[in-house]
Symmetry: C2
């Protein structure tokens, strides 16, 4: 089973839910005039379907391997990567000054989803490069930009992020890697970093590592961390490659999934120190890293969407083909396709509705990022920036939870065949499982949402988003369309629950932080349900395009299913948030002794 990029739904969501049409109407997306967005998505879809998707199975079966200190990617990967970079896909949003195309994040979001649906392990490498490009663009010196940026934008070189150490995962305070100042203004880097995605590989001739380390006189904690650029191969004055730097891949992990993405333990400075260049200011590395991380979190959210879409397509194709039993009302000859059985149909609808809901949420974040850069007033840019910041942890955590759930349901739809690796359904589940963990576990995302994002502008940002949801609910109610069923009613309940839980959180945050933290994960999910549900309803409200009544009816049916079968959990989550902290606190005694 291969993948077909769902260009139609992507474009529809971009335009009508994420606000691409509004962005265009406001004159903020001139590059996309004249149907450019659709054209780009069509092209990207072809590349994803035809070139990347076929690599997904070999990537899983053979994986990347470390031999004699060098990592080799699976057969066909280097060629595909070079073709992909050659076609310009790596620099879609990058600064045209350095060879990028300067396109909106909205278009990039759809493309990132496609690459990851086609092959999660393949698409992951370029996401790290994107982070490096962003950090360098925002915080790098002119000299560093001149040397590295164009090569990263073209994809000739790739980038990595080096944060984690064995004792420092979610808590970067514990970071130990060292940096020493050299007389020539460069630095020498020492230390071990673990879980470094694409830390070594053969896709490109050089790799640009961004590494967090401490200077000797740095204050303790996260205020004493600096960010350094450490190339795998040193770059000569003329831009050609010189001697190897003092950095090596010590080992790669044997992982549950994404076998083709090499997860490396990197050793810096075994032979006198790896040469590094400071990015930004000394001891301000964390701020630079956060620049990369916010974008990376959206991209990981898109990975959740991507794997859900792939798993959904896979399961749907199987369920339409596989015949067992006779479904109620089946009038065909012999056995019916299992897609006709109510319980299987329920699973497929749940997969579809959740996938599309998470897509809408992620694309909305991308639109926020675009407005944050492109809007014409400071106030509008700030509002958009805060909106994107608020929704980013939801996009990351809610979408990746959906990625796992949908991939697991995909296995279930396949029955016994799902448990057999040959079918490919299980790979989606194995691949999906990392996304709830890396770039800040989903628990960390929930804490970020509650502690840092809800208080933005004194709560006005979150209240604004809730008000938009209410607007959608009112429109659904006013539409009086019977096909919506109880969509308005259920979504209203969900938004009510979200609003009350939000008030509770804003109040608890100051006085009883333990209570707020105990409910953070459920709160994030509640937010996802309300936002996802209203986003699907938005799609249903648009009406038929190009006379395609069937697509319109399917959008309404999908929104209805989400509202009546998925968003129904909202009041339960509100209750767990508002009323459940005591159970978590009391539970402390369970683990005592």
């Amino acid at each position: 089973m291969t993948y077909r990029a769902p260009v139609e739904d992507m474009l529809f969501t971009l335009r009508h839910v994420a606000g691409l049409d509004r962005l265009s109407a406001d004159g903020l997306a001139p590059e996309l005039e004249g149907g450019m967005a659709g054209a780009i998505l069509e092209e990207a879809g072809k590349f994803a379907n035809d070139v990347i998707a076929p690599l997904n199975t070999v990537g899983d079966k053979i994986g990347s391997r470390l031999e004699n200190g060098r990592v080799t990617t699976p057969p066909g990967w280097r060629e595909a990567y070079m073709a992909w970079a050659e076609a310009g896909w790596n620099g879609l949003t990058a600064d045209p000054e350095f060879g990028g195309q300067g396109l909106p994040q909205l278009v990039q979001a759809a493309c990132v989803e496609m690459w990851n649906s086609a092959s999660f392990a393949f698409a992951l490498g370029p996401l790290l490069t994107a982070g490096a490009i962003e950090a360098l663009t925002t915080h790098g010196s002119e000299r560093l930009k001149e040397t590295y940026l164009a090569k990263l934008v073209s994809g000739e070189w790739m980038g990595t992020m080096n944060l984690t150490e064995p004792q420092a995962g979610s808590d970067l305070n514990a970071l130990r890697a060292k940096a020493e100042r050299a007389p020539d203004g460069t630095y020498r880097i020492f230390g071990q970093k673990i879980f470094i995605t694409y830390g070594d590989h053969d896709l490109t001739d050089n790799i640009v590592h961004l590494v967090l380390a401490r200077l000797p006189d740095a204050p303790p904690g996260t205020r004493g961390i600096s960010l350094f650029l450490v190339p795998k191969i040193l770059v000569n004055q003329d831009g050609s490659l010189g001697a190897p730097n003092d950095v090596r891949c010590h080992s790669i992990e044997h992982k549950l999934g994404i076998h083709a993405s090499p997860t490396c333990t990197m050793v810096y400075g075994d032979n006198g120190g790896a040469v590094g260049w400071l990015i930004g200011e000394e001891n301000r590395g964390l701020a630079c890293m956060f620049t990369m991380m916010n974008n990376a979190r959206l991209n990981v959210g898109l990975q959740g969407v991507a794997i859900a879409e792939r798993a959904y397509q896979h399961a749907l194709a199987y369920a339409k083909e596989r015949k067992q039993g006779r479904a109620p009302g089946w009038t065909g000859e012999g056995m019916s396709p299992i897609a006709e059985h109510p319980d299987v149909r329920r699973m497929l609808l749940r997969m579809r509705a959740q996938t599309q809901a998470s897509r809408a949420i992620c694309y909305k974040v991308a639109e926020g990022l675009d407005r944050a850069h492109r809007a014409t007033t400071d106030a509008a840019r700030k509002a958009a920036s805060e909106r994107a910041a608020l929704l980013t942890p939801i996009a990351k955590a809610y979408s990746t939870d959906i990625g796992v759930e949908v991939a697991s349901m995909g296995v279930q739809v396949h029955g016994g065949m799902g448990f057999v690796e040959e079918t490919g359904a299980a790979q989606h589940l194995r691949d999906a499982r990392i996304a709830t963990i890396y770039e800040g576990t989903n628990g960390i995302q929930a804490i970020d949402l509650v502690q840092r994002k809800l208080p933005l502008s004194g709560g006005e940002t979150v209240r604004g988003v809730i008000a938009e949801m209410r607007d959608v609910v009112a429109k659904v109610a006013a539409s009086n369309a019977p096909a919506f069923g109880k969509t308005a009613e259920r979504l209203r309940e969900a938004v009510d629950s979200l609003e009350r839980a939000t008030s509770f959180m804003l109040e608890a945050l100051g006085a009883r932080p333990g209570e707020a933290l105990a409910g953070a994960t459920d709160y994030l999910k509640l937010f996802g349900l309300a936002l996802g549900g209203t986003s699907l309803a938005q799609k249903g409200l648009v009406g038929a395009e190009n006379g395609d009544e069937h697509a319109q009816a399917a959008r309404v049916a999908t929104a209805r299913f989400f509202a009546e079968q998925v968003a129904t959990e909202a009041p339960a989550l509100e209750r767990a948030v508002v009323d459940g902290a005591g159970a978590v606190e009391d539970g402390a005694l369970v683990f005592a002794a």
Copy 2:
């Protein structure tokens, strides 16, 4: 991280929730007088911890392999199996006439859980043997029993179940394997069977296959299926092994998990026909198979409990050791164990509460089976039998869903380490994933619950179970114990939801079967929440044993967590059941064309 059998909680659950004490008081468990149950569990726990658990990792890494037509299990497995059988664990509940110990299913349930926690793939083989023993005991001729039963009970030989064919999975109507009558009263079997667990292996010198096939003059559909006993090696008159039968393992599957459990494609009759003996009557094979299947479904439910328990222990040990950040209120030096962080504690509590809830449900089914065999009146036996029948699909599906959820949460608690296979957390998830699929997918269980089990005794069986739940809720409310928090309130809501959803189902079944089926999975989960929640509350009501106030407080805290954080979903599920069928039916148009 290894496994320690939670003997204390098992015994407590057996005695006070599953009704072992009541069974004893009624004089129905004389074998367990004088603390025998505890002594057996202690011994089983030692064997599970010390002998089986250490095999789990090698089982996963090396797996079972097919070479030259023979399947080899991983190093150490044959020795462990022989020691296990030697110790008498295989025949715990079997008829003493054939060497069994005739013990209650209640004790067996706890032991099955232990073997599966220690190694899911190891314990799976004997579960198939148990099914063969049961079918043979109930339906086999005296001659077959004499030849095979004692060897199966001792574990000298193992058994298999051969149902599935490529075109016949959930729907056995489509079965094609053939049986021909031979002049000597035996049969010749022809055909291919897939997904045959432990279809071939080197643990025992013979394997007793139970095979479903059709006679030439059989009616179509499931009324034309017969059950045959087909030994791997033919048995001589004197009981010694003779010539190989015409059956072979054609291939084994490469699976997501349980790598050490060989999943075989079996070919019968390539060389003139495999010699088979009829079990029961011709064309009545399905009834015989259902005898095996009900028990097997409870055992698969116990696999869900088992993998959840193992994953929980694994995650808890890691969370107590791993230090990151400082939890709110943490007064220790440096970083706190992650178990102190509210969100991690919430995950651990959820893992624990769900594991124990599923344990209670499965043990209750075992008690029903015991009473169904041992009660002194026909009426009591019938009531117990129906109760066990009602709860079996819940035990199977709800527990195995919990197995997957808890194992996945265990990966999450481990953070990045959870995705690395070396840690072992991911293996639990991979292993757990099969249990929601085999022995009837969880969707099939939900249909069984709604279509066949709810109508038992005109709905009186289910109403009786609900009345027992109400009784527990009333006792919690009357206890006025502040530590229960809102347990009574939340459980009352859950039971109310279950009761209304049950009335809806009973009514919809006849008139609108499509509606009933669309909500079957949510209904089953709702049942699990109400039954699991009240079962945990039962434990909290017992009071301290042996002056252990801490254990008592932990039981109450666990019950409270389940009621306030897990069972809260009940009203949402009721809504999806009662009100959500339209969304599923409407969704049909989504997949049209």
